[in-house]
């Protein structure tokens, strides 16, 4: 079953603008991860945020996590045409191994950067 729900389902912006994607989930988590997928290829790991963290940065990426609202956001600043892709949030739930189980993915946000 899909736990994460990304919002919006699709987003089209101009190059140079910032893109914000949101993710909501339902159960308690160990960590939340964001992935990018280009045209049906494999997933590229972007960033992992642990349940006891509120914000994390990596280059042009900024992720926030609000466990009280069971939600996360991914901000891509100064977008580039190469950022065009689908973005997925995935949650690792608490359990045996502390989150080593299979990830639960949302349906993704399709981001298009117009040059």
């Amino acid at each position: 079953s899909q736990q994460g729900e990304e919002d919006p389902q699709a987003l089209s912006i101009q190059e140079g603008e910032n893109a914000t994607m949101n993710c909501s989930y339902k159960t308690s988590i160990n960590n939340l991860q964001w992935y990018r997928q280009n045209s049906g290829r494999g997933l590229v790991h972007l960033i992992l945020i642990r349940s006891n963290e509120r914000e994390k940065h990596s280059g042009r990426l900024r992720v926030t996590l609000d466990t009280s609202k069971k939600s996360s956001s991914l901000l891509i600043t100064a977008s580039r045409a190469a950022d065009t892709a689908s973005y997925f949030c995935a949650t690792a739930s608490l359990g045996i191994g502390g989150g080593a189980d299979g990830l639960t993915f949302g349906k993704g946000t399709h981001l298009i950067i117009q040059p």
Binding site: S1, Q2, N30, N31, Q33, Y35, G40, R41, G42, L43, V44, H45, L48, R50, F88, A90, A92, I96, G97, G98, G99, A100, D101, G102, L103, T104, F105, G106, K107, G108
Partner: protein, 114 residues
């Protein structure tokens, strides 16, 4: 460092046949995961192997099975193929350390059932 590799890239089968998909994890990673990405259904967890043992499986019928070899590579077998098995099958690997570590994905095998 080589990433996760999957073979074949594409696989075409007919209904009722059996398919075998292969995955080599990143060197040093002991956990291997399999996911199915079918049109309209999104990414769904299939199987998790660690240290040669099946640790957990998702909500899939028993005709989806696999194994992990002593070198930590893995096979996914799908028996009695059905049309709805057409999907991109993704393999991921992770270090066996049970702290918060990301999964790293291969480029997938696209399985088409005719």
């Amino acid at each position: 460092e080589a990433g996760v590799t999957q073979s074949p890239t594409h696989l075409i089968k007919t209904r009722g046949q059996q398919a075998t998909l292969r995955c080599s994890p990143i060197s040093g990673h002991t956990s291997v995961y399999w996911y199915q990405q079918a049109l309209g259904l999104g990414l769904q967890f299939l199987l998790w192997y660690d240290e040669g043992e099946e640790r957990n499986r998702g909500n899939f019928p028993p005709r989806f099975s696999g194994r992990q070899f002593p070198n930590y590579s893995s096979e996914l077998n799908v028996n009695a193929l059905e049309l709805e098995d057409s999907a991109l099958y993704l393999c991921a690997s992770r270090t066996g350390d049970y702290s918060n570590q990301p999964q790293h994905f291969g480029d997938g095998t696209r399985l088409s059932i005719l």
